[in-house]
């Protein structure tokens, strides 16, 4: 397995300022973006839960991750004041967000799917 196919097999993809417009705003279907930071202990607690949820929802939703330490501008643009914050996009439009969800697969799964069901 080469590096690019290994990256493709991951349930969550990294997105940066330069690729945000094409991948998130130009992407199709429900898109979930996690704004996180490596210094945030809650982000670390959530990490395995997010991976499990993203893997389970892979066929329905696309998950991206923004490292706010590297992309302050993106965080400012979307008014991120704390990590982790999940912002849900559909057709380039924000349809919902959740800040600091509980580290439980069921509640996180509900939080990132409900905005798309309205």
């Amino acid at each position: 397995m080469n590096i690019s196919s290994a990256a493709d097999s991951l349930p969550i993809h990294d997105v940066v300022k330069g690729t945000f417009a094409s991948l998130v705003l130009g992407g199709s279907g429900p898109i979930v973006v996690e704004f996180m930071s490596y210094g945030c202990s809650h982000c670390r607690t959530l990490e395995p839960v997010i991976e499990r949820v993203a893997e389970g929802l892979r066929s329905r939703e696309t998950f991206y991750r923004v490292n706010v330490g590297m992309d302050r501008e993106l965080a400012d643009r979307y008014g991120i004041t704390g990590t982790p914050t999940f912002v849900m996009f559909s057709d380039a439009r924000e349809v919902g967000r959740v800040v600091g969800p509980r580290p439980e697969a069921s509640s996180l799964s509900r939080a990132v799917t409900q905005p798309f069901e309205r």
Binding site: S37, Y38, G39, S41, E47
Partner: protein
């Protein structure tokens, strides 16, 4: 030379990593830098923030995980090995001219145990946990007892707004 030895870009130097988004960590790092600067023959310590790029951190040492680096203080040794937590603090003390006179105590063994190192480990754990109280914007309040303590401190230190939740009632 082992693989890990090749990874330390500053051979002969110890690299101390700190959380650059944490005020109390920055204060401690600044003190270490000041204390290590006047060493004859140059400092054996390099102090640098962890940063936000996991790949850049791995360039320092392949086994360095950025989540771990933020969770516990890391000191990358000249041979590429790493000391963590209280062990890292003891090693820093051993390398500073102003503290090395007492740092030998952390190596003292009593019945196979190192009691002073154990005290230092405990002190480090407490300090790491109470960082949110001392001014750590990035690390959050991860432990319930710290959250309760922070609420207690905030009650007495928050600005008093008439009619607000923290306003004191006049008797």
């Amino acid at each position: 030379m082992t693989l890990t030895q090749k990874q330390n870009p500053s051979p002969g130097r110890r690299v101390l990593l700190f959380d650059g988004d944490c005020a109390v960590c920055r204060t401690i790092a600044a003190w270490v830098i000041r204390a290590s600067t006047p060493q004859p023959g140059g400092s054996t310590l390099i102090v640098r923030p962890i940063g936000h790029d996991p790949q850049a951190l791995r360039a320092l040492n392949l086994s360095l995980d950025i989540w771990d680096a933020y969770a516990t203080i890391h000191l990358v040794m000249p041979d590429g090995s790493m000391k963590l937590g209280g062990e890292a603090v003891a090693e820093v003390f051993r390398n500073l001219p102003s503290t090395r006179w007492f740092a030998w105590i952390f190596a003292v063994r009593v019945s196979g145990h190192r009691p002073f190192q154990a005290v230092l480990d405990f002190a480090y754990t407490i300090l790491a946990d109470v960082r949110p109280l001392l001014g750590c914007e990035s690390c959050g309040s991860k432990n319930p007892y710290v959250t309760k303590a922070k609420g207690f401190v905030d009650f007495f230190t928050a600005p008093r707004v008439p009619g607000g939740h923290h306003s004191r009632r006049s008797s």
